[in-house]
């Protein structure tokens, strides 16, 4: 097997591991839960259609009176709408404007990246990095929204510049007009920002600096970008500012109780784990359901705390023995034993447990492969050979096939 083949097979293996933890079958199944309820057939066939048409006509008439038409958006010089959810990158030397049909305009500054994630009576935009100049025309019924990493901005009608640097996890917003509501991370459930104010916040350092634009550095013209020098978070300004100007000083708010969750979902495992420890690891485990326990274990494992991960997984199996996550927990316990503790006999026991509980599960191939590897590394040559023969029968081209063939051929 060439190096490239090894890389590609390992890529597949990683995808298999991710898939085992994605929970997609359950989520999708829930979407189709009521799909097959038989519809009553006693009424004439044309009746539902006529009723639907009439209902639609009423809705359209009411909607035309009450609701604005759905927004349209054009990007740059093109007249076509963007692919919803596709990432957009501004060129290196110029901005990329997003013009909405109600007159609102977003402008991505050079090198910035964002995407439109929702488009209805208002829009939702996710800023991945860089800056976005925002002008939302007031008058629409529902609020617009911008997501930037763990931060959120709710807008009703305003003009401002928002920036986000994912490398430093620094969020910045400078208001020109109107009012916005900020949420996420240090902002908690919601914090309003009024005209003329600016805010600079970091989830990583849990610092928050709110002030007025005229007494702060002119940040609106200095959008954060990947090539800008490392930004320094200003210390919170004291309540009574020395010069007596209207400087709004903000003590750090206490993080929300489950602040580790958005961090974990954003892939910031070390920060999420630190937050879990701050809240009390065992206490959070005690309150968690099966899904959350799995996530806690994942956070601990990726934050290099395998013993804590083990504790969460064992708790998951003890408290939710018949849940779908219990078998996955068995597989994860086997992997912990194998990779972290080098306990091959115990690892083999966990992989056997998984195969017993989920013989056709998504991780069955990996579990059998790991099981034969654990038997081999644990020195049980007889079991390793028998498992290798079984593996080759069931997965002749699986990622462990090469090892299995070698073990079968061994004298």
């Amino acid at each position: 097997m060439s190096k490239l083949e090894i890389l590609l097979r390992r890529a597949a293996h990683e995808q298999d591991l991710q898939r085992a933890e994605s929970g997609l079958p359950e989520r999708l199944a829930a979407r189709f839960r009521d799909a097959s309820r038989p519809a009553p057939r006693r009424m004439p066939r044309w009746l539902p259609l006529a009723a639907a048409l009439m209902f639609t006509a009423i809705l359209v008439a009411v909607g035309a009176m009450k609701k604005p038409a759905p927004l349209g958006v054009t990007i740059g010089e093109t007249s076509a709408a963007p692919l919803l959810g596709a990432w957009l990158g501004a060129p290196d030397r110029g901005p990329l404007p997003l013009d909405f049909s109600d007159g609102s305009r977003f402008e991505l500054t050079p090198k910035s990246k964002a995407r439109v994630t929702e488009l209805g009576s208002s829009a939702r935009v996710e800023l991945a990095s860089g800056s976005l100049r925002v002008h939302v025309v007031p008058g629409r019924s529902s609020a617009w929204r911008i997501d930037a990493g763990p931060f959120g901005v709710r807008i009703t009608g305003t003009r401002f510049v928002v920036s986000y640097d994912p490398a430093q996890e620094v969020f910045e917003l400078v208001m020109d007009e109107g009012e916005v509501e900020l949420s996420g991370c240090v902002f908690g459930k919601g914090r309003k920002l009024a005209v003329g104010q600016r805010v600079r916040a970091s989830c990583r350092t849990q610092e928050l600096d709110v002030g007025y634009r005229d007494v702060a550095r002119p940040r609106a013209e200095l959008p954060l970008a990947s090539n800008t020098p490392e930004p320094k978070i200003a210390a919170p300004i004291p309540e009574a500012a020395a010069d007596g100007q209207s400087v709004a000083a903000t003590p750090l708010p206490a993080p929300a109780p489950a602040a580790w969750l958005p961090l974990a979902r954003a892939g910031k495992y070390r920060e999420a784990y630190a937050e879990l420890e701050r809240l009390g690891f065992d206490e959070e485990c005690r309150k968690a359901n099966a899904e959350t326990l799995g996530l806690i274990a994942d956070v601990a494992r990726k934050a290099r705390s395998p013993r804590k991960a083990e504790r969460a997984l064992l708790l998951l199996r003890r408290r939710f023995p018949s849940s779908a996550g219990a078998a996955i927990a068995a597989f994860s316990l086997g992997r912990l034993e194998f990779d972290e503790f080098r306990g091959y006999t115990r690892a083999a026991d966990w992989f056997r447990t998984y195969l017993k509980e989920q013989p056709n599960g998504a991780m069955a191939r990996e579990a059998l492969g790991r099981l034969l590897e654990a038997a081999y590394r644990g020195g049980d040559a007889g079991a390793a050979r028998a498992l290798s023969e079984r593996y080759l029968r069931e997965y002749p081209s699986g990622p462990h096939a090469e090892l299995a063939s070698r073990l079968v051929r061994a004298p």
């Binding site: 190096k3 490239l4 590609l8 390992r10 298999d16 997609l24 079958p25 189709f32 097959s36 692919l83």
Partner: protein
């Protein structure tokens, strides 16, 4: 003739006595599940989704790599399959049929993205990624670059390469699922491999993974 053994008769649920309707379990075989779907049995759609999502998700992962639209695409695959379930000729080939639909959906998505590339849509690989389950930073980079290079290949070549070399599908499978002859499938894979190796050699993260003997 009456069967001699009562065990050959299908088991019926016992009457509950209080007039409740007991729901029969959905069949285990894929072919019988297809029949249940066609008959409009309650829960059949959900069961199909639960049973076949791992296969659909796997193929989409292989072809697209890490992708924010994967879940929605998997949803579309099932919606399309429900609409076309009456046209499935061999109910035993349900999973293979779904894989074919998933490949066609992925192909459409890639082609649509390429059409929109003139406004510089940034592939998800360019954005901050979640940490991989069990990997070094070098491997994470290599994997990210793998899909970035695949993104530059013609869509049919990319799909054939991903199915053959990442999913480990045999040649006949690649040909059948992409609806081309074996020779065409081979040609696409070979062409994609040549181009992939050529680009990988110039890539810092992938160069260590490409040996001198690679074609």
């Amino acid at each position: 003739m009456i069967p001699s053994s009562p065990t050959s008769l299908p088991r019926c649920p016992k009457a509950s006595g209080d007039g409740r309707l007991l729901r029969l379990p959905l069949p285990e075989s894929d072919a019988a599940l297809v029949q249940a779907l066609r008959a409009g049995r309650e829960g059949a759609h959900e069961e199909l989704v639960r049973r076949c999502t791992p296969d659909v998700e796997r193929i989409l992962q292989r072809v697209l790599g890490p992708d924010a639209e994967l879940e929605d695409l998997a949803h579309d695959v099932f919606v399309a399959s429900f609409k076309a379930i009456d046209r499935l000729r061999d109910p035993q080939a349900l999973r293979s049929w779904l894989v074919g639909i998933a490949i066609r959906k992925a192909r459409k998505l890639i082609a649509r993205r390429k059409r929109w590339s003139f406004i510089r849509s940034v592939p998800p690989g360019d954005l901050p990624e979640q940490e991989l389950a069990s990997s070094s930073a070098e491997f994470t980079d290599a994997l990210s670059c793998t899909y970035r290079i695949l993104g530059t290949l013609p869509v049919d070549d990319r799909i054939a390469f991903a199915l053959r070399h990442i999913d480990g599908m045999d040649l006949a499978g690649v040909a059948a699922h992409t609806d081309v002859s074996l020779a065409t499938a081979k040609r696409r894979i070979a062409r994609a491999q040549r181009r992939f190796v050529e680009l990988a050699r110039k890539n810092e993260a992938l160069a260590p993974w490409v040996g001198e003997d690679e074609p």
